[in-house]
């Protein structure tokens, strides 16, 4: 078991390194930090600009490979992720954003998995009944809706509810805002702000997963061993939970690893729509501001999220499936 996980981890680390390297070359060759200063009026002295850019390892006169080498040494030797074209240290820029995003992603993904599995499994046992059709329609609607539309639609509904009740139940601008002075007020305020974007992320994840889980569950409901369990005298609900759902979870474990990618990119738009100061929003800004190192840092963050997701799902699969554990 430990060996199995270690083997996977080594694979992932190699993959991660290649992905981040690729991102560096792509970003450094297509984003030009100099252009940020081209519109500066009065124009900057070219020598000064060259020196500045050189100091931040963003000078397009330096060969690409050399810039990569400097960046690589920085990351590995000093945990220094470089500077933006404005001279802001990336480590500073992302140190808080990272945790904001992580909180959102973690809650959204976990809730999405939980809701998706439950809805999928439940609708499978009620195949072709009204409840199954309603949830199928709902899930398809959410899957078809782009995440920013979903975000804005949620906001509109939230505004109307706030208006009708006269209390701001839902908060959806930023990550924190005004709050009272009662004990726990700060915490409650944070929760309020976290609620809607997490809900959107959860809905997106759950909608997709519920479809997959429904099909997996339908397959396993038809399996001989579920019939065996029923023939043993297990009531239907017990046979379904203990035998059908348990085996139908194994492929889900693998699927979740790959869905983390979608969650990270989905979170980008969601953060933008809800003005959440997270990594996704930072990434979009970085691209428009020619922030090479910001883009690379985001890629690394996304990559690590995916790898952690993948390792967790590998462990989940090994725990769920004795054939993987012992085979």
């Amino acid at each position: 078991m430990v060996r199995y996980v270690l083997k996977r981890v080594v694979n992932y680390v190699v993959m991660l390194f290649l992905a981040v390297t690729g991102a560096f070359f792509l970003a450094a060759s297509s984003l030009n930090a100099r252009s940020v200063y081209a519109v500066r009026n009065p124009p900057l002295d070219p020598d000064v600009l060259n020196n500045m850019l050189y100091r931040w390892n963003l000078n397009d006169n330096t060969p690409l490979l050399e810039r990569y080498w400097v960046w690589l040494k920085g990351v590995f030797l000093h945990w220094d992720w470089g500077y933006s074209p404005e001279g802001v240290w990336i480590n500073d820029a992302i140190s808080t954003k990272m945790w904001v995003s992580l909180r959102l992603l973690l809650i959204g993904t976990l809730a999405g998995i939980l809701v998706g599995v439950l809805v999928g499994a439940w609708t499978a046992t009620r195949q072709y009944k009204v409840s199954d059709r309603v949830f199928t329609g709902l899930a398809l609607l959410i899957v078809c809706t782009p995440s920013f539309v979903l975000g804005i639609a949620t906001q509109i509904v939230a505004i109307n509810i706030n208006r009708l009740t006269g209390v701001s139940i839902f908060e959806f601008v930023g990550e924190s805002g005004q709050h009272g002075s009662f004990p726990g007020a700060i915490f409650l305020d944070r929760l309020q702000h976290l609620l809607l974007p997490s809900l959107v992320l959860m809905a997106m994840g759950a909608a997709q997963l519920s479809r997959i889980q429904r099909n997996l569950m339908l397959d396993s409901l038809g399996e001989d061993y579920v019939r065996t369990a029923r023939a043993k005298g297990l009531p239907k609900s017990k046979a379904v939970m203990r035998h059908a759902l348990r085996t139908a979870l194994i492929p889900t474990g693998t699927y979740v690893a790959f869905s983390v990618v979608g969650m990270v990119t989905g979170a980008t738009y969601t953060e933008k729509v809800f003005s959440f100061p997270g990594m996704g929003a930072y990434f979009v800004d970085s691209v428009s501001r020619m922030n090479v190192h910001g883009v690379v840092a985001f890629t690394a963050f996304a990559g690590v999220s995916v790898v952690v997701g993948a390792i967790l799902s590998d462990i989940a699969v090994a725990l769920l499936d004795p054939r993987v554990r012992l085979g």
Binding site: T228, R230, L234, T247
Partner: protein, 693 residues
Amino acid sequence: MSPILSVKDLHVTFPSEAGPVQAVRGLSFNLDRGETMALVGESGSGKSVTSLAIMGLHPDTARIEGSVQLDGEELLGKTDDQMSKIRGKRISMVFQDPLSALTPVYTIGDQIVEALVIHQSMSKPEAWDRAIELLNLVGIPDPATRAKAFPFEFSGGMRQRVMIAMAIANQPDIIIADEPTTALDVTIQAQVLEVLKKAQAETGAAMILITHDLGVVAGNGDKVTVMYAGRPVEQGSVDDIFYRPRMPYTIGLLGTVPRLDHSSDEALPVLEGTPPSVVNLPPGCPFAPRCPLADEACLEAEPSLELLDEPGVEPAALPHRAACVKVDQIEKNHWTHRDIFPAGVIQASQYADIPREDRQQVLELHQVRKYFPLMKGAIYRRQTGTIKAVDDIDLDVRRGETVGLVGESGSGKSTTLLEILELAKPQSGTISVLGQDTSALSRHERRDLRQHIQVVFQDPMAAVDPRLPVFDIIAEPLEAFGWNKPDIEKRVFELLDLVGLEPSHADRYPQHFSGGQRQRIGIARALALSPEILILDEPVSALDVSIQAGVINLLADLQGKLGLSYLFVAHDLAVIRHVADRVAVMYLGDIVEIGQVDQVYDAPTHPYTQALISAIPIPDPHVERSRQRIVLEGDLPSPANPPSGCKFRSRCPKFATLDSVSQTKCAEQAPVLTSCGTDHLMACHFGEAVSVL
């Protein structure tokens, strides 16, 4: 004594888009304690539907009518919760496919414990102890350790033992065994049937044995119900059914199966056609369209199951009943299957009169070997062992003859076929096809040679492309060899006629055909290029018994007409006895006995051959009751790690009886094939002919 189970006028109907599917129509029977009733019929006859109806495991959409009484208590109409208290406790079930019937993620101990604690108040450790006891009872070696293992760590036969242990865990009144041995090798089938008998004796339970194998019925049933198109068509004691069958379908079933204990070159009597669909059945006897005796009276109304008046026969617990209007006629004339069913016509081979030695060798294997390396490691791969799938075998097929190849799964039969079909140089040894050494062929020559050696596969459902019409399927090999369009068309219709299909079938797709017809399509495709050798890989084992005879006759007829040579692989030794001229028995990659078929069957000399033949049940109750069965211990050993010396010694019944000097010889020297009669060789140090039929 009141019966433990009483089924009266059971009807099961499922809704479907084409109309209601009447899967079971009016089944009645009583079952006493300790008794076994066999439920016989082909796929779709309603056997399994009946068993699930008794268990209450049909979906809510199924309409179930009639009465099922367990010890006087009505079961139909009980809620699912009420039935849950009966299932597994008073009625339990053993399913067909042991590979999929156990939940893969729980240990087998857990699964047995689950069956125990749900019905009995016992603590976990108590239940675990009982589970180990049960595993011991059904013959799982080292049960305390094995209980902690997962299903994938067990072989098929071992898993079926686990299923049986689970079924008897709560001392049920009734065990329903649904095709319990169909998915298993014959040697393992014999083991599992023994375990079932033991389990029944231990619990005193009544048993419903669902099977299509009449041999299994003869050896295990007390009474029999034969079903056809959802209806019981004949009922009675085992002797009634086997020695005094009155319904033409029963007579046909018994007559069309090839017999292990009779040598015969004649064509098998054929039951034409296929069972009807049970949606919108026309009026009249459902068997009438296939029955040679049918006349207008048969088409008027469906005959009911009538009690037979048989003077001089002692009435059995289950009185003899049959559903046929011709019962009296059949009884009066003492008609048997020979009188009722037309025997197929088989053209005699032009080579029949030429002695074997004078015929050309069309296929010759000399010391052919196929080893598979066992690799380990992802980055640094290294070989950790060798699987000797085919271990230096000699085999030859002469023109116009059929050579049968038999053995358990894993014995190397299929690998041998694949090696031949490769038409390439084997790892060692030589393969010659029509006198040409395959290792010396150029690409072009190999392609040309391929025309002369073709293959028919086991599963007709999987072997033809469902998206091509029949014409294209048969035309494909011709196109591949560059035939022109008009010739192809002529040839395809010629082939359709040859295999007994209609010209109008050419435009249809495989899904419109039954299994037997699809196998004919596969045979037509194989014959398209006029090959001289056909490799037949279990060509009839996926077919229903009543369909098998037609395909076997067709193959025999084609052999006569076209002078074909067959290499015929099958696990059904009765089929091999009927079709083959010579037979080779394989064990773990070796041929252990080979010879003229009647010699090998009547006087098998190698202990493995004896065990194989002995394991096969014969559809004759008297014979079955008096037979001494040799039951092999355990499973086939791993071909990666076979025993030293004679590979069979770990399971050999003879080995156990030998003195230590002789045993040492078995352990140290691998026996080689030596002659033990005219055209009869075997590889055993101490082999002697024994009749096991």
